[in-house]
C-alpha cells in the first residue's frame, strides 16, 4: 500500500454535518508551522512518499501555495488535499494546484447531492465540487499528469440511510476510492455499509470501512494514512 502521512494545515476540519452540530471554529495554521511539520514527517524513517494536507479547507487557507510548495520541497511526490471541493473549480484553482504539485484530491461528501447540500447547509456545494473535480481532471489530462480522486464519506445518524446514494455521487465525480468513515456511529449498520460497499464495486470504485469489522478486501484502502482527528 501507498504510505500517506497526514499533516494538519489548520484545525476545525474541512466540512461538518451541521445537523450534528459538531463543527468547530476553523483556524488555519501559519505556513511556517506547517512547513516545519512537513519537514518533520519527511525526516521519518521510512519516509512516506505521500502527504495529506487536512484539517482545514485548503482553498480557504490564505497560504495554500506556500504550503503545497513546502510539501513538494520536502520531497513528497504525492501531495493530497482533503477538501470540500467547492472552490476547486473557481479562479483557476484546479490548474493551479496541479501545477504546484498536487496529484491527489480527496473530497468530503455527506451524501447524495440533495443530502450533502442540506447537511452542510451550503446550497449548490455538491455541484460546485463536481465542477471542481472535473476541472482538476481536465487540467491533468491536458498536461499529461496522472491524478487520483478519492473521497471520504463521514457517516452519522443523518446520512446513514443514504450511504449508497453518496457512493453513487462519488462515482459521478470519477472517484477511484471511497472511505466510509463510520467512527461517529455508535454501532455501524453492517447491512447499510455492505450495500454501500457493493454500490461502490459495481461502479468501479474501491470502498472500505476502517475498523468496520469487514473481512479483507473490504477493510483497507489503497493507502495507509494517519489519524484524522
Amino acid at each position: 500500500v501507498i504510505e500517506f502521512a497526514e499533516v494538519p494545515i489548520g484545525r476545525g476540519g474541512v466540512l461538518a454535518c451541521e445537523e450534528c452540530g459538531e463543527g468547530r471554529a476553523p483556524e488555519p495554521f501559519a505556513a511556517s508551522k506547517v512547513a516545519a511539520a512537513l519537514e518533520g514527517v519527511a525526516g521519518a524513517t521510512p519516509r512516506p512518499e505521500g502527504v495529506t494536507l487536512a484539517g482545514f479547507e485548503p482553498f480557504a487557507h490564505p497560504e495554500l501555495p506556500e504550503i503545497v510548495a513546502s510539501a513538494v520541497e520536502a520531497g513528497f511526490v504525492r501531495v493530497r488535499l482533503r477538501t470540500d471541493g467547492g472552490a476547486l473549480g473557481l479562479h483557476g484553482n484546479a490548474a493551479g494546484v496541479l501545477a504546484a504539485g498536487v496529484r491527489h484530491i480527496e473530497v468530503v461528501l455527506f451524501g447524495d447531492p440533495e443530502t450533502h447540500d442540506r447537511l452542510t447547509r451550503r446550497e449548490g456545494l455538491y455541484q460546485a465540487a463536481l465542477r471542481g473535480v472535473r476541472a482538476f481532471r481536465e487540467a491533468a489530462a491536458s498536461s499529461g499528469c496522472g491524478v487520483f480522486v478519492s473521497g471520504v464519506l463521514p457517516l452519522c445518524a443523518h446520512n446513514i440511510g443514504v450511504a449508497a446514494g453518496a457512493v453513487v455521487a462519488f462515482a459521478e465525480m470519477g472517484a477511484g476510492a471511497v472511505e466510509l468513515d463510520a467512527s461517529r456511529l455508535p454501532a455501524a449498520d453492517r447491512v447499510v455499509l455492505a450495500a454501500a460497499l457493493d454500490t461502490a464495486t459495481v461502479n468501479g470504485m474501491h470502498a472500505w470501512v476502517p475498523d468496520g469489522g469487514f473481512a479483507a478486501p473490504y477493510d483497507r484502502g489503497p493507502w495507509k494514512t494517519g489519524d484524522r482527528s
Binding site: V1, I2, V79, G146, G176, T201, V202, P217, P222
Partner: protein, 415 residues
C-alpha cells in the same frame, strides 16, 4: 487482410503474413490490407471489406482474445454478403481450438494453427487453384461438409528465410512499431501461450536482427519502438549484443518502451546495458507472490532478486512496470493484495493490475477443471471464479487493484 488490433497496439502478424505471401512465387494474386482496432464498429470494418471491387476471394484475419468478438462479427457479415468468399483465421485465439472454431462458426472456412507465414501461403495457393486447404499441414479447414485437421506443422526452423515484415519505406511512427528477434519462450507459465507448449528458442540471425532494427529505427520521424520478445535479456550475451546494436540509435535519442524482461536477472551492469540501448521502460511480473499460485503456474519468484532488479533499473533511469494478475489458481484475496502491496512497495514507476484470462492452448485452459478455475469460454475468456475467490471477490479485488495502481501512478515524477 484485415488487422483488428487492441487499442494502442498493432500486431506484427499481418505484416509477416503479407510479406511471406507476397514473396511466394506460387502466388500471383493482389493483396489489399488495412488495420483497425476494437473500438471500431464491426459493421464498418465489414464495409471496408465489402466495398472492394472486385470482391475479395479470401478474407484473412489474425485473432487475439481481445479482438475475437470483432473478428467473428466481421466474418459473419462478410460471409452473409459474399458466400463464395473464403474466411481464413489464425492466431493464438483460434489456432489451439481450430476444430471447435470451425464447428461453432459457419462463417469460418479455415484456421491456420501456429506460425502462419508458410501455412497461410499454402492456403492461398490452394484456394487460387480452385481447391480447398483440407489436409495442409498446420491448417484445419472445411472440405465440403467435413472439417479436416491437417497434420501438425513443425515450427519454422530458419526464421531468416521469412521475408522481413517491414516495408522498405519504413515502419509506423505512432508508437506501435515492434521488432522481433526470436520466437519461443524459456518459461512455461501456465497462463501464457507465448511458448506454445515448448521452451525451445529459435532466433533470427544477427544480420537479420540488425537489418530489421536499422529499418525500423531509420524510419523518418521514428522516436521510439518496442520489442515483442518475451524476455529481452534472454542471455547475457544477447543483452550485450543488442545493447551494442542499439546504442548508436540511443545516442541519437531513440527510446525503447515496455521491453519485457526477467527482472531477477538484472543487476547494475545489466541495467546499464539496457539504458545504453535506449531502454526507457521495461515490463515484468511478479504476476503473483502467492506460493500456491506460483507453483500452479510454474513460475519462480525470488523476492530479493526481484527487488534488486527493480532498484537497478530505477537507478539506471529505467521505469519498471510491475504486473499483477488477479485470479490465478491458488491465490487467495490476501495473496493478491500482498502482490499489489509488493509491487507498489518497490516504487517501480508503474503498477498494472489485470484479471486472468484463461487462454486457449495454455496449461490453465487444458487443466482448468483440475485447477478449480471457472471461466467464460467465450473470448476474452475472463476468469469467473476460482477455488479460493468467488465471482464477487474477483470483482472487488479488481476495483481495489485498479484503485491502488491509479493512486500509485498519481505522483510527481521528480525524486
Amino acid at each position: 487482410m484485415v488487422g483488428v488490433n487492441a487499442v494502442g497496439y498493432r500486431s506484427l502478424a499481418l505484416d509477416y503474413l503479407h510479406a511471406a505471401a507476397a514473396a511466394d512465387p506460387r502466388l500471383d494474386i493482389a493483396f489489399h490490407r488495412f488495420d483497425t482496432d476494437v473500438t471500431a464498429d464491426p459493421w464498418w470494418t465489414a464495409y471496408r471489406v465489402l466495398r472492394l471491387d472486385p470482391a475479395p476471394q479470401v478474407v484473412a484475419m489474425p485473432v487475439l482474445c481481445w479482438t475475437a468478438p470483432h473478428v467473428y462479427k466481421v466474418a459473419a457479415l462478410v460471409k452473409a454478403a459474399l458466400p463464395e468468399t473464403r474466411v481464413v483465421l489464425g492466431g493464438p485465439e483460434v489456432g489451439p481450438i481450430a476444430g471447435q472454431v470451425l464447428e461453432e462458426d459457419p462463417a469460418v472456412d479455415a484456421v491456420v494453427r501456429g506460425e502462419g507465414e508458410i501455412a497461410f501461403a499454402d492456403v492461398l495457393h490452394s484456394y487460387a487453384r480452385g481447391g480447398d486447404p483440407a489436409g495442409i499441414a498446420g491448417v484445419t479447414a472445411r472440405s465440403g461438409s467435413r472439417i479436416v485437421e491437417g497434420p501438425e506443422r513443425e515450427p519454422i526452423a530458419d526464421l531468416d528465410s521469412l521475408p522481413s515484415p517491414y516495408p522498405a519505406t519504413g515502419s509506423r511512427t505512432d508508437g506501435s512499431a515492434y521488432v522481433e528477434t526470436y520466437r519461443g519462450c524459456p518459461h512455461r507459465c501456465a497462463y501464457c501461450y507465448e511458448g506454445k507448449g515448448s521452451t525451445k528458442i529459435r532466433s533470427f540471425g544477427w544480420d537479420r536482427i540488425e537489418s530489421d532494427i536499422r529499418t525500423v529505427a531509420g524510419t523518418p520521424g521514428m522516436r521510439s519502438f518496442s520489442f515483442i520478445d518475451p524476455v529481452f535479456n534472454l542471455t547475457d550475451e544477447r543483452l550485450h549484443r543488442l545493447s551494442d546494436i542499439l546504442a548508436p540509435y540511443a545516442e541519437k535519442g531513440m527510446r525503447l518502451h515496455t521491453i519485457e524482461v526477467n527482472i531477477e536477472r538484472i543487476g547494475p551492469e545489466e541495467a546499464r546495458l539496457l539504458a545504453r540501448a535506449g531502454v526507457a521502460s521495461v515490463e515484468t511480473g511478479p504476476q503473483t507472490v502467492g506460493k500456491a499460485a506460483l507453483e500452479a503456474c510454474l513460475r519462480g519468484f525470488d523476492e530479493d532478486r526481484f527487488r534488486a532488479g527493480v532498484t537497478a533499473c530505477r537507478e539506471a533511469g529505467i521505469s519498471v512496470e510491475c504486473d499483477v494478475i488477479i485470479g490465478l489458481p491458488g491465490d487467495t484475496a490476501d495473496d493478491v493484495m500482498a502482490g499489489i502491496d509488493f509491487a507498489t512497495s518497490l516504487d517501480p514507476g508503474r503498477v498494472q493490475v489485470s484479471t486472468l484470462h484463461v487462454l486457449p492452448g495454455t496449461a490453465l485452459w487444458d487443466g482448468a477443471d483440475q485447477a478449480g478455475l471457472v471461466f467464460d469460454r467465450r473470448p476474452p475468456h475472463e476468469v469467473v471464479a476460482t477455488r479460493d475467490l468467488s465471482f464477487a471477490d474477483l470483482r472487488r479485488l479488481e476495483v481495489y487493484g485498479n484503485a491502488c495502481a491509479r493512486a500509485y501512478g498519481a505522483r510527481l515524477s521528480i525524486r
